[in-house]
Symmetry: C2
Subunit: 380 residues, 2 copies
């Protein structure tokens, strides 16, 4: 289990581009980091499948005793395929049909999003955690910040008293890509106090740990220091729901340069676009670009996809050594919210997924075909 | 061919939710409006498949002699299934593999995006239009504005002289959801002058006509007046590439209300989310919401999806009469860039598509299943 250098040229040769490539070593290493932060406490890691649902990656996690945080029947199926336990069902839009499906397929823990939802679960024995909104500002992108009162998730912490006896624990998730410890400390401290007050012994801490897209990230040593302090006063079981933190830095979007277009501005046009990775367009997210075979001087340029849309950008105003047409580049830290948010925009098939483990590259999701894309059409 | 009122309740009962519903009458009507704007000129409508690629809708257009503007092999396949002619291949990321595929499958017209790309097509007899960048500000969302010099599309108009003898016509597209005639007039006038100067007799005007999402839209009477004037000095064939203008107002995203969540803020939670319709999250786009069975007083609220993400909004701060759980609502003007940008985010299967024609509702794309979603996985 050592860090093998990924041979992206080999991956491209074997499986084409665009392709998501995951480094198994990094996934295992990141799970280790999470463990270190909570060492000494009674805790379980539940991987948030919304970051990545590839069953092969999930199986690798299950083999390390990682459970699942799922939000839909589709994610439940993937978690079962991978053999993940326990499985927690999370989300603010659970339906009666989904409830039947989940009960039939089996799961272990529930996060209840609203007082209204509590009624839906009166007849089941599955442990219930109530998602509370601690009214803490996670200071992240507004789309992925979730802990403020005006957000759609969870119950105001002041309302806890009314329902404390109907629940088995609490759940909090303040947002995604959080890079400072302080909002966590504020939220966790409130939740620990609430658990003590109402005699609750299960506390789901959510996820959201910020990764190093561009120099800013959550300091896990500081997290360790904080958790030691805050949870010394907590008697019970902790759950942690990392997603991006585990697979984000382990994933790369491998693309081929189609052409370098020079004009008023320089564009590197690749065969990967916002259909494959929407984060730059959707969140104005920064992903580092690695030119694998630089051939020209470093200049300021945009890295764009092949789609007919100006928003189809992977990176803007970067200083990069120019590649030539036909060479490769990778978009880094693309292992979370990459494939899982990919679309068929511009009628582009979904990319392939490959894992790189000790034994080299293995295809874990075939590239979608055009026939696949239209397989559900009823018509000409 | 009269305007039938769509029975959304029936559609939900027959095909479930979330479902895209298209009104055939509106599609035909909108094609008629485009025709009126160019009446008297030699013109062809090429529907931009990136707005919507459902082959049944495309067939309906083909039956009205509408051709296709395609940007990928996937779109070419859909245009052929529907029998659309002529087919124009557009885009800034054409590859050699795609070239082979297109030549094999057959197509009629080319839009060339760069001087570099011209070389790729020296050996073919397919008429070549050069996309020029007229440096006109379309004054629309930065993601979908395309006609400025710093955008990735087209060749600066000043460079035309160098390559005029290698091409058969010009192509311009200044952006999407453009709501004023002036930028069109500026761009078209420049292009007509250039055609006269270089003896070119085919002019592709692109699309981008803004629709009435929220009160502002392109005035087609003014467009008619403008085209009569500008093209009176043009001798040749016009091509027009509407996408959104034709299918946008014809499409509805039908969703079920899962619950109404009251707190500091009121949320209507539906079973349709940003996975089904990403425009509100991606472009901050406004779509009108129609509550089909209002049951409470009108209050300010957000309409949100079931996904675990704050950005999962269909509408923000709307005054709506509150529905009850289990009732229906529709998101209007969702027939363009709706299904075509849908994803499996949160492992949600793609929605169904239904057409409403004289004979009532017909399923034209089955809802994706969970099995479909994982069908390309190689692993557990």
């Amino acid at each position: 289990m050592r860090n093998m250098k990924i041979d992206f040229g080999l991956v491209a040769k074997l499986f084409g581009t665009p392709t998501y490539v995951y480094d198994a070593f990094t996934i295992r290493e990141r799970i280790g980091v999470v463990r270190k932060v909570f060492k000494g406490f009674d805790f379980t890691i539940l991987f948030a499948l919304k970051a990545n649902n590839n069953p092969v990656l999930l199986r690798l996690m299950a083999d390390m005793d990682v459970g699942a945080d799922v939000v839909s029947p589709g994610e439940l199926v993937a978690s079962h395929r991978a053999g993940m336990r326990p499985v927690l069902w999370n989300g603010n839009g659970k339906t009666e049909e989904q409830k039947c499906f989940f009960l039939e397929q089996g799961f272990d823990l529930l996060s209840i999003d609203s007082i209204e939802e509590l009624e839906m679960w009166q007849d089941t024995a599955i442990p219930r955690l109530l998602r509370v909104n601690p009214n803490v500002d996670a200071r992240t992108h507004p789309h992925i910040s979730t802990g403020l009162k005006h957000h759609k998730f969870g119950v105001d912490i002041e309302e806890l008293e009314k329902v404390a006896e109907k629940i088995d624990g609490l759940h909090v998730h303040i947002g995604s890509q959080v890079t400072s410890v302080e909002p966590y400390e504020a939220a966790y401290s409130r939740l620990v106090r609430a658990c003590r007050e109402f005699g609750l012994h299960t506390l789901d801490l959510g996820g959201g740990w910020g990764i190093d897209y561009n120099g800013e990230y959550l300091d896990t040593d500081k997290m360790r220091e904080m958790t030691s302090r805050v949870f010394s006063r907590f008697d019970g079981k902790l759950l942690i729901e990392p997603g991006r933190f585990i697979t984000g830095p382990a994933g790369f979007l491998l693309a081929k340069v189609l052409r370098v277009k020079k004009g008023e501005k320089t564009f590197i046009v690749t065969d990967a676009g916002m259909n494959d990775l929407i984060r730059p367009a959707l969140y104005n997210a920064h992903h580092r670009i690695r030119i694998l075979e630089p051939a020209g001087p470093a200049v300021s340029c945009d890295v764009v996809g092949p789609l007919c849309e100006t928003g189809d950008k992977l990176a803007a105003d970067r200083i990069l050594e120019l590649p030539t047409a036909g060479s490769l580049l990778v978009v880094e830290d693309a292992g979370a919210y990459g494939f899982s948010m990919a679309s068929n925009y511009n009628s582009m098939p979904l990319p392939a997924e490959v894992i790189w483990d000790d034994s080299g590259p293995v295809l874990i999701r075939k590239r979608q075909t055009i026939e696949d894309m239209y397989s559900n059409v009823i018509g000409p």
